[in-house]
């Protein structure tokens, strides 16, 4: 099971997820290729976060299969799920940093729980991660409550990257950031994706980040993926919801100038 031979980082097939009588995801299928940045768009409350949380195992599914790096998740293979968990890092929307630990301890937490190494090395690696996401070593001794919004996102990203995951899930990474910080954060994701060879699964509403960093964009509507492909393909999609999303007033800046 060599990782290099798997071309799909995540393969979701015929996924059905619902709560009570309401079906949120209806036979949804989606492939995320290795090493790409996939942006997922959809209406608010349309199931984007549900899809992400189902893939990472926080929400049970009714049927369908999910494969991560060629390993099917859930069911009897509890250990396989555990191993897969070390292969992904998750950036939650509000950061979800542990408020009782310092930033450095937050980054060290997955290292401490999963690996055995000397405290000195753990410190160095934590600081290395913090510097890679653009924080200073001094910020490591701060508590999450003392960080600004952009710094919280960066610290949370450093924690998500602590175990050098192959896949990173980002839930609205640029929401709540000013355009400059959001742009910096996009650039950071792109840089890290290149240097670390990450596969990035990004739920976002930020049209600018969809346009600049995402290799492919998937549109979720009516519980299915209705369109997937590079941004320019989606702009030409005929699906009514996708048209409304990308051709609304707020998305004028994305339109090709020549046409």
């Amino acid at each position: 099971m060599d990782d290099l031979q798997v071309s799909c980082a995540i393969r979701v097939t015929d996924l059905v997820v619902g709560f009570g009588r309401q079906v949120v995801l209806n036979e949804l299928s989606l492939d995320v290729r290795r090493g790409e940045i996939l942006g997922l768009v959809g209406a608010s409350g349309g199931g984007k976060s549900v899809l992400m949380r189902t893939i990472i195992g926080l929400i049970p599914r009714r049927s369908g299969t999910i494969e991560v790096m060629g390993v099917p998740l859930g069911g009897a293979a509890e250990r396989a799920t555990q191993e897969a968990a070390a292969r992904w890092g998750i950036l939650f929307q509000q950061g979800a940093l542990f408020s009782s630990l310092t930033v450095k301890q937050n980054v060290q937490f997955p290292l401490r729980e999963n690996l055995q190494m000397s405290p000195a090395l753990m410190d160095e690696i934590a600081i290395a991660k913090l510097e890679m996401v653009g924080l200073r070593a001094e910020d490591g001794d701060k508590f999450p409550a003392e960080l600004s919004g952009g710094m919280t996102k960066r610290a949370a990203l450093a924690r998500a990257l602590a175990l050098d995951p192959a896949i990173v899930f980002l839930d609205e990474p640029t929401s709540g950031l000013d355009p400059i910080s959001a742009g910096d954060f996009d650039a950071l994701i792109k840089t890290l994706q290149r240097t670390l060879g990450l596969t990035v699964f990004m739920v976002t509403h930020d049209l600018a980040s969809l346009n600049t960093v995402c290799d492919r964009v998937a549109a979720l509507a009516d519980g299915k993926i209705v369109a997937i492909g590079p941004m320019r393909d989606l702009l030409q999609s005929e699906h009514p919801w996708v048209r409304a999303y990308f051709h609304g007033k707020r998305s004028q800046m994305l339109q090709p100038k020549a046409s």
Binding site: A86, S99, S100, L111, L115, Q116, M117, S118, L121, E124, I125, I127, A128, K129, E131, M132, R136, A137, E138, G140, F143, P144, A145, L161, L163, D164, R194, T195, L196, G197
Partner: protein, 378 residues
């Protein structure tokens, strides 16, 4: 399967050639660290170092950092380090790691232990003084809010008041009755057991009656309310503070003390005496039941003895204390709630402080009342 990590070191003509191989990833970190450390020990004997990464099958930040640290150690001793054979797909990572940890973090200045101990002592005594100030501030804010409400009775939040009374009063009745019933029964049983030796069983009624009505009924109920409702107040107000709901109220020109705290404390002051009364009755019932089952004293005799033993004064002493205890519990709970800061930990800490402090103050208050009532002859 992953390739086992390795590190071969060849020393020729004072050139140390290091060849790491296999998986240099975080899963193997324990092995990698000892490999890297043993290589660092060998660096000392050489004049220059060659690092050939050609045999590495995969590498991540941890592996790259260990090699970078190795080459930095060598370079620090004045030995030129040459790194070759980096696979194209890992080049970015290796370059990136070369930039990190360059900057020395200033260690926090060491503190004099004696001085630190003294500082802590000073801080905590100041904190205790501050607690008194916070308590008085809340009392003052509450009095002002009450005065304002008395001037404009329509501004009293009746819905909130009734809801709080329902929550902390009505819903607490079963547990209060159960516990005070048990306490009354236990006192009676112990009394009968020990008084029997002197043939003084009938005095158990005096003991149960006076103890329950004067002291225990109200004290037990106050402690239970502090644990049950005081903690809820602190947690509610604390999480409202965390989620900026209190700030939202202030910006709308409303006084949080008037809107949130006054109804809660008034509800507490109105319901605690009722709960204390119900609790005392349950305790007397428990005592009476044990007196019949264990001591063989019929209900008629028990009630007749109770008539002789206790006067209305005992009952008054107990009931008079209840509203003051409620006020203390309410003020402590609400002011601790307002002191919650951003983190979940602080919410827990403040809730604990609130319960501990209000139970402590309730018992201190009970002691003060005992002295007071004794000196005025009640």
């Amino acid at each position: 399967m992953r390739a086992h990590p390795g590190l071969t070191a060849d020393a020729t003509d004072e050139v140390l050639e290091l060849r790491p191989s296999g998986s240099w990833v975080s899963l193997n970190v324990t092995e990698l660290e000892s490999l890297a450390n043993s290589a660092i020990a060998k660096v000392g004997a050489s004049k220059s170092v060659k690092l050939d990464l050609g045999a590495i099958s995969e590498i991540d930040t941890v592996g790259a950092w260990l090699l970078e640290r190795l080459s930095r150690r060598a370079a620090a001793g004045g030995r030129p380090v040459q790194m070759t054979g980096v696979a194209a797909n890992y080049l970015g990572l290796v370059e990136e790691v070369r930039l990190v940890n360059r900057h020395e973090v200033e260690p926090a200045p060491k503190k004099n232990p004696v001085l630190a101990r003294l500082t802590d002592l000073g801080r905590s005594s100041l904190g205790a003084a501050q607690d008194v100030v916070v308590f008085l501030e809340m009392l003052a804010a509450l009095s002002f809010a009450l005065l304002r409400t008395l001037r404009r009775p329509r501004s009293l939040r009746v819905t909130s008041l009734v809801y709080q009374m329902y929550r902390i009063g009505w819903q607490a009745i079963p547990i209060v009755m159960l516990i005070t019933f048990l306490i009354g029964a236990i006192i009676a049983q112990q009394g009968i057991f020990h008084f029997r030796r002197f043939g003084a069983e009938s005095y158990v009624v005096d003991m149960v009656g006076i103890l329950v009505l004067r002291e225990l009924g109200v004290l037990i109920v106050a402690i239970m309310v502090a644990g049950r409702s005081g903690s809820a107040y602190t947690a509610e107000i604390g999480s409202m503070k965390m989620r900026e709901e209190i700030d939202a109220l202030v910006t709308m020109g409303l006084d949080p003390v008037e809107v949130l705290i006054l109804p809660r404390i008034v509800a507490l002051i109105l319901t605690l005496p009722i709960l204390a009364f119900i609790g005392s009755m349950a305790a007397l019932y428990g005592g009476g039941l044990v007196a019949q089952l264990y001591g063989g004293m019929g209900p008629a005799i028990f009630i007749a003895r109770l008539h002789e033993a206790i006067s209305v004064t005992h009952f008054e002493v107990g009931m008079l204390k209840a509203p003051f205890m409620a006020l203390v519990i309410g003020i402590v709970a609400c002011s601790e709630g307002l002191r919650v800061k951003g983190s979940a930990e602080s919410l827990g800490q403040q809730t604990t402080t609130s319960v501990v402090k209000s139970i402590f103050l309730v018992i201190v208050l009970d002691g003060l009342f005992a002295v007071f009532f004794a000196s005025i002859g009640m």
